[in-house]
């Protein structure tokens, strides 16, 4: 009897180990395939011609993706400018000011926000934000500004949930100490709680950036996808992700390889962002 139970335990252990390893395997496979497909073009065309090239005309032999790298960073920063303060404000309210009842109402609402498919954000962006920008600010409406607003809203759940957790993990004694010294609630929050949770908040911003860099569908719908580096926030632009999704359908030969090279660059950028975020979080844990 005991032998049987032991055996079953052993079996389950193996199955679970397999599950855990499979995710690693998938990661490895994705990595391997993108590199195998993407790297040959770097050899053929030249590293700097791809990374620093300004002209993207893959059917005519130009594979420069520099404008898209810049654009990806621009929309990410734009999203952070809009989503960062808003998200931090919301997290601070939830952690410091909201009563239990409001928390019960707000937390699920935020989770719902995270669950809305990105195509819905894009759709609403096209229907409301793009025409609004066109009427009020001018230009075609498909622009850096519209994209930043849509992405700013999309990164809210990430920013809020992680900075909320880090605000909550600030020990109660800090707040009590500050209040006992005669500081007001806001002074305590601004001078004591937020600085103590600094690294977690920073990590939430970086993970939000990761989400913004990787977002595709909503960006294609509102960014206008022009190939130039935008000279104002009202001009259209194309990010790395939307470049892949836009052109994959008809791409063949070198054009296809060019899209995989775009994927390689994207993979590296997201790896760096995740690494920085992990580093920031780990530093906080060690403290």
């Amino acid at each position: 009897m005991i032998e049987q139970i032991k055996q079953r335990e052993e079996k389950i252990r193996w199955i679970l180990t397999f599950c855990a390893l499979s995710s690693l395997l998938f990661l490895f496979l994705i990595f391997a395939f993108i590199l195998i497909e993407g790297l040959p073009l770097f050899y053929k065309v030249g590293f700097s011609n791809i990374i620093f090239g300004f002209k993207w005309a893959p059917t005519k032999g130009s594979f420069g993706i520099f404008p898209m790298i810049v654009s990806s960073f621009l929309v990410t920063i734009g999203a952070l400018v809009i989503g960062g303060p808003l998200g931090l404000g919301c997290a601070t309210y939830l952690a410091e000011y909201a009563g239990k009842k409001r928390k019960i109402f707000l937390k699920p609402a935020l989770e719902l926000l995270a669950g809305i498919p990105s195509v819905v954000y894009g759709f609403l962006g096209v229907i409301y934000i793009v025409p609004f920008v066109r009427e009020v600010f001018g230009g075609s409406g498909f622009s850096l500004l519209s994209t930043s607003v849509v992405l700013g809203i999309m990164i809210l759940p990430t920013v809020i949930s992680i900075s909320y957790d880090s605000l909550m993990s600030v020990p109660r004694a800090y707040r009590e100490g500050s209040l006992a010294m005669g500081a007001t609630k806001w002074q305590t929050t601004w001078r004591v709680v937020i600085p103590s949770a600094r690294s977690g908040i920073l990590a939430s911003f970086i993970l939000g950036m990761g989400r913004a860099v990787g977002e595709t569908m909503a960006v294609i719908m509102v960014a206008g996808n022009a190939l130039k580096i935008p000279s104002s926030i009202l001009e259209p632009l194309r990010t790395l992700t939307s470049n892949i999704a836009l052109e994959l359908a008809y791409a063949s030969g070198d054009h296809r390889l060019g899209l995989f090279s775009t994927g390689v660059v994207l993979l590296i950028i997201i790896m760096i962002l995740n690494y920085i975020a992990n580093f920031v979080i780990r530093k906080k844990v060690i403290k």
Partner: protein, 269 residues
């Protein structure tokens, strides 16, 4: 526990064996392989679907890959029929061309735009970035929001060939990834201009006259409207018997009717 394993293994077997069933079809004798242009492919697939309903003993395989790839495959004899959405070059003229239909490309603007007529050169200047303001075309002082298709698209390829004549489309121009989204942008932005397949034009957008000629099926048939590309089927010499049956179907009243319903201009009504 044992039963669970057994059922999992059994279901795997079922999945694998049901996949194999596809091969049984190969016993049917008549096989037609078609490859080529990504613009012609969706229509050929549609035609093949209808065709195979009426001719269950035939199998029509349709693959994309682009006009050039299709032409090459046809010259090499790897496919029975090649598809092309561009005219053949001199050294490709060894192939037998069959025009199955024509596709007009309409230059569209928002219905609020008072302009009805542009010359081909004006359209070219807009998309090459030379003309950037509607004022230069006799309307208000407002930037032109031009929209093009993504690199690799067949419609863009035809537009580059028929309108741009080797002039590059400017990098600052917006890009959308389907006829539908180009139309959507033009329908919502009063200052936009774009191009789509003629079949896509409806009341939400206004198709411009080019050099004074309205883009209509009638004008395309009479070769008055110039922004038109042929959809070609290519065969090496005389088509093989099986391929001929399919081609006959495409050129028949039924086949042409299907193409017309898709918004293309049939060769024989």
């Amino acid at each position: 526990m044992g039963k669970l394993y057994l059922s999992i293994i059994l279901s795997f077997f079922l999945i694998i064996t049901s996949c194999n069933r596809g091969n049984v079809n190969n016993q049917k004798r008549h096989l037609v392989n078609i490859a080529g242009s990504t613009s012609v492919m969706p229509f050929t697939e549609k035609l093949a679907e209808y065709f195979m309903v009426g001719h269950p003993e035939y199998i029509v395989n349709v693959q994309s890959g682009g006009s050039t790839a299709g032409i090459q495959a046809c010259i090499n004899g790897t496919v029975h029929i090649g598809m092309s959405s561009r005219e053949l070059k001199e050294d490709e003229k060894v192939l037998n061309e069959i025009v199955i239909c024509y596709d007009g490309i309409a230059i569209i603007v928002n219905p609020k735009n008072p302009i009805n007529d542009l010359t081909l050169e004006q359209v070219r200047n807009i998309f090459s970035g030379k003309v950037k303001n509607w004022k230069d075309l006799g309307w208000i002082n407002r930037r032109i929001d031009a929209v093009t298709r993504e690199e690799g698209s067949g419609t863009r390829g035809a537009f580059e060939e028929l309108v741009m004549h080797k002039v590059h489309i400017d990098d600052g121009i917006m890009v959308q990834d389907s006829n539908g989204s180009v139309k959507e942008v033009v329908a919502t932005d009063p200052y936009a201009i774009g191009y789509v397949s003629l079949g896509m034009v409806d009341k939400k957008v206004k198709a411009l006259k080019i050099d004074g000629v309205e883009p209509s099926i009638e004008n395309i048939k009479q070769k008055k409207y110039k922004v038109v590309r042929p959809f070609l089927y290519l065969t090496k010499g005389k088509p093989e018997a099986d391929a001929q049956v399919f081609i006959d179907f495409v050129l028949s009243k039924e086949g042409q009717g299907i193409l017309k319903k898709e918004g293309l201009v049939p060769v024989n009504d």
